[in-house]
Amino acid sequence: MSDENKVDVISSYLESLNNNKEASIEQKEISYGSGIDSQMSKYIETTKMEESNAAEYEATKIVKCRRYKLYKKEIS
């Protein structure tokens, strides 16, 4: 497997989780050992990252950071 393809394996699998929450829930409800192989194949083989999403996805691989202010309020 080339380096490029290996990175695709990570990204396509995670992309599929990002894009299809319901599918990922359904997949996680299948008990381990019953058809996980075909499920994984589906994630790996069917999701080729779109060129337009590449930059956005790349950005999520770094540690994202934000700073914000919260105003104090007593909660009774």
Binding site: Y13, D37, I62, V63, L70, K72
Partner: protein, 200 residues
């Protein structure tokens, strides 16, 4: 050659455990505070793995589910290690946004995980870095990745418990034991003084 960690994908209902790999894990802290407000820094790690002791994690998951409440076993947070893509950490690029928020700059070309580090880590002999490849059955789902033991952080169990859909897999026992043992060795390292630098 990078050793392979075997993993399983657990149903979302299953509790959080040692070896769980999560994506997009948020870690935040109060950076400054005055009478009216607090300023919060929030980091989102692309991937991270649970490395707290197995029984402790299991207990806190039960605690979060309301199944137990033994005070002596309570822990405020769970220890995690970030996982970075190998290609992005070579020069510290994975931290560029963090450094920007800290008003620091990453020196161009500065080594972070250099060729020698890669060679040693891929022989499974690096003290700080663990080269990571994860297989579920015969499928590789994570590769070209690195755990950095220096970047330990912690999050409350409630956060992990509520984000179980972001768990991508769970590394099997013997492989997570290997990772945690390496982490323990890294934490126990002794820093010796440089004889050329006067003691402070």
């Amino acid at each position: 050659m990078v050793s392979t960690s075997k993993a399983v994908i657990l149903p979302a209902e299953q509790g959080v455990g040692q070896g769980d790999v999560f994506k997009d894990v948020k870690y935040s802290y109060i950076d400054s505070e005055d009478g009216d407000s607090v300023e919060v820094m929030e980091l989102t790690f692309p991937y991270a793995i649970v490395v707290s002791q197995s029984c402790d994690v299991a207990y806190m998951d039960d605690f979060e589910s309301g199944e137990t409440s033994a005070v002596v076993k309570y822990m405020p947070s769970i220890l995690m290690c970030p996982i970075y893509p190998k290609d992005l950490i070579k020069h510290g690029e994975h931290l560029k946004e963090v450094f920007s928020y800290l008003d620091r700059t990453i020196e161009s070309g500065a080594p972070y995980y250099n060729r020698e580090d890669i060679k040693v880590a891929e022989k499974d002999q690096h003290v700080r870095f663990h080269a990571l490849k994860i297989d579920v059955d015969d499928k590789t789902i994570v590769d070209q990745a690195v755990i950095d033991f220096k970047h330990l952080f912690s999050v409350p169990m409630k956060y992990l418990h509520n984000h179980r859909l972001q768990r991508i897999c769970t590394i099997e026992d013997i492989y997570i034991d290997q990772i945690v043992n390496k982490m323990a060795a890294y934490l126990a390292r002794v820093g010796l003084p440089d004889p050329k630098i006067p003691e402070r």
